[in-house]
């Protein structure tokens, strides 16, 4: 059951072949059996999920209408609000915080009869590329327990890859959905900025953040996007465009499509990565696409730009965590100043403090015009460059990461780890939609991801292309031959 697509699981539920209770119990048993080792979940709602499933079975028996996600268990990254449930952002600061409201995406999933089965582990406040900065537990890559699952949506990625849940939501600020998806051999989609509501997502860097889906295949990604990919009046950056909907006609070829590849920018790719990437660019040609060499040399500045702007926004976003309205309140303090200092000292981990301090430096009055303004202008240049490229090309492709998943014990420097986001940051900088599709294995058997990027608002085009690409890779057969036995 764990290797069935969510769309097929749902068909079996709707035609009575499987009950919602049996589906939920199956995944709960897998979580019980394997998550002790993997560490994907922070919280599992077994009783509630079974109760909801019973209700869905009743609804189906009575012939009542059922939502698009009926019968499908779904996990949420633990920075997405679910009313009445703990929300920690994997931080000690929020270890006792309980969500007072539902995020828009949570509400939409519930309305569509999806069954929220639990909350997944992440880097603290989504700051990281390994899930190692979580204050509570470590998450391991289901393909190779010595390796990182990536981050910051590592818990969601590991949960899907290990077959603990068919679909999970993550959040992506610089690659935090796509990079762990690539490391764990699954599909991860970062929607266009504004395509999915951020209401109820704990912000990290508001002009970069997006909630997005993770699943084993592109059809399931498209299914959940039909539910969450819509305008929200509670999010002032929400795009007023028609609800996400994939064209009914399947695209079997990419004939006539111009696809850009920034060959010069890919010089840091690993040897394995180069071989696999070139092979798949060639397969795009066989599908009828014309490959165009494009200039994205400006992206060599994206890491510096990202650190300047995202840290500045993060220092503002996290200023609200002062012990007054949220978590980690200390009673034995003499003054409000002492409260701020003590709760932030004890509540935040090293990486979060580091980024807040950097952001504060960036915004400090004497320096603001110097770094921050410059970064804003370079961001405009990057957006303009993508406009020029997309006036010639439909899509851009590049590897998701420079190499496969890194060794979790050996690579601990946060700056080194963030190099894994080198190819993903540009989509957040420019507001583009981008998807990572598993495309092969490195020599050490770790998965590699292939990234397809499209202009803002063209999410359907990117997912259509990804569906066509997915059909023409042999990752599925690689998975069945090479993935660890418990995953198959």
């Amino acid at each position: 059951m764990h290797n069935l697509k969510a769309v097929d699981l749902q068909k079996k539920f709707l035609n009575g072949e499987l009950s919602a209770v049996s589906i939920v119990k199956y995944f709960l048993q897998r979580i019980e059996k394997y998550d002790k080792k993997i560490g994907a979940f922070l919280d599992v709602y077994a009783k509630e999920a079974i109760f909801l499933a019973k209700g869905l079975d009743e609804k189906r028996k009575k012939g009542l209408p059922l939502g698009k996600l009926a019968g499908i268990p779904i996990a949420l990254k633990d920075n997405i609000h679910f009313q009445g449930k703990p929300l920690t952002c994997a931080s000690k600061f929020l270890e006792n915080y309980v969500s007072a409201f539902d995020a828009t995406v949570t509400k939409l999933i519930i309305q569509a009869d999806g069954i929220i089965i639990g909350k997944t582990n992440m880097d603290e406040f989504a700051m990281g590329a390994s899930t190692n900065t979580s204050a509570f537990k470590k998450t391991y890559n289901p393909w190779n327990f010595q390796c990182s699952p990536g981050g910051s949506s590592g818990g969601s990625s590991a949960a899907v890859a290990a077959g603990l849940v068919p679909i999970a939501l993550g959040s992506d600020t610089g690659g935090s959905i796509r990079q762990p998806a690539a490391f764990c051999g699954i599909v991860g989609f970062k929607p266009s900025y504004g395509r999915v509501s951020r209401y109820g997502l704990v912000p990290f860097a508001s002009s970069f953040d997006q909630i997005g889906p993770m699943a084993k295949n592109c059809e399931d990604i498209s299914l959940i996007m039909e539910v969450i990919g819509q305008y929200c009046d509670k999010d002032s950056t929400s795009l007023k465009v028609p609800r996400y909907s994939l064209p009914a006609k399947e695209i079997d070829s990419l004939k006539g499509m111009k696809i850009g590849v920034p060959w010069q920018f890919l010089e840091h790719l690993s040897a394995d990565g180069k071989v696999v990437f070139k092979k798949h660019v060639h397969s795009l040609r066989k599908l009828g696409a014309t490959i165009v060499d494009i200039d994205l040399d400006i992206l060599k500045h994206s890491m510096a730009l990202y650190y300047i702007l995202a840290s500045a926004e993060a220092s503002t976003s996290l200023a609200r965590f002062d012990g007054v309205c949220y978590g980690k309140r200390k009673e034995d303090v003499d003054s409000i100043e002492d409260l701020y200092l003590l709760c932030r000292k004890e509540g935040f981990g090293y990486e979060v403090k580091r980024r807040i301090l950097l952001g504060t430096f960036i915004l400090y009055s004497k320096k603001q015009n110097h770094y921050y303004e410059k970064a804003l202008k370079v961001r405009s240049l990057i957006i303009e460059q993508f406009h020029r490229i997309f006036s010639q090309c439909c899509l851009v492709v590049m590897p998701t990461t420079p190499s496969e998943a890194f060794d979790a014990e050996r690579v601990t420097d946060p700056t080194l780890m963030s190099l894994a986001d080198m190819y993903t940051m540009c989509a957040n900088i420019a507001g583009l939609c981008a998807i990572s599709v598993p495309c092969g294995l490195a020599e050490n058997n770790n998965p590699l991801g292939f990234q397809i990027l499209g202009p803002i608002k063209e999410d359907e085009k990117v997912i259509s292309a990804a569906l066509t690409f997915e059909k023409n890779t042999n990752f599925s057969s690689l998975f069945h031959k090479k993935a660890p036995l418990y995953m198959r």
Binding site: Q83, N96, V98, A100, F101, Y193, G194, S207, K234, S236, T237, S238, L239, K240, K300, H301, M303, A304, Y307, I308, S315, V324, C325, Y326, G327, R329, D334, S335, I336, E337, D338, L339, Y340, R344, K345, F348, Y350, K353, R354, I356, L357, L358, G359, T360, F361, Y364, H370, Y371, E373, K374, A375, L376, K377, V378, S380, L381, I383, T415, G431, I456
Partner: protein
């Protein structure tokens, strides 16, 4: 970046750190600032600053109508409160 500036930033950010943490953070910050230098050399004359992704609608404003978006009781569950108000320590040190 020097220790004096670092302590000013730590105070602004309300981040209290030990001496060893200060040294570690200072080292990291110095490294990050060095890495920004290549970005600073890019020619951005006559380039407008990014101020949001273009939308036809411009700024998204909503009508100034008071709505109950959250039950106050759910909000109060997460804080130390007294008689429906948030309880705080003294604003001024005595």
């Amino acid at each position: 970046m020097d220790k004096e500036l670092f302590l000013k930033l730590a105070n602004l950010a309300k981040i209290d750190c030990s001496t060893s943490e200060q040294e570690a953070f200072l080292g990291h910050l110095e490294g990050m600032v060095l890495s920004f230098e290549s970005l600073m050399k890019i020619d951005t004359d006559n380039v407008a600053s990014f101020c949001g992704f273009e939308t036809k609608e411009g700024n998204a404003l909503r009508d100034d109508i008071v709505e109950m978006t959250m039950d106050p009781q759910d909000f109060l569950k997460n804080i130390i409160s007294k008689e429906g108000m948030i309880k705080l320590p003294a604003l001024l040190k005595t």
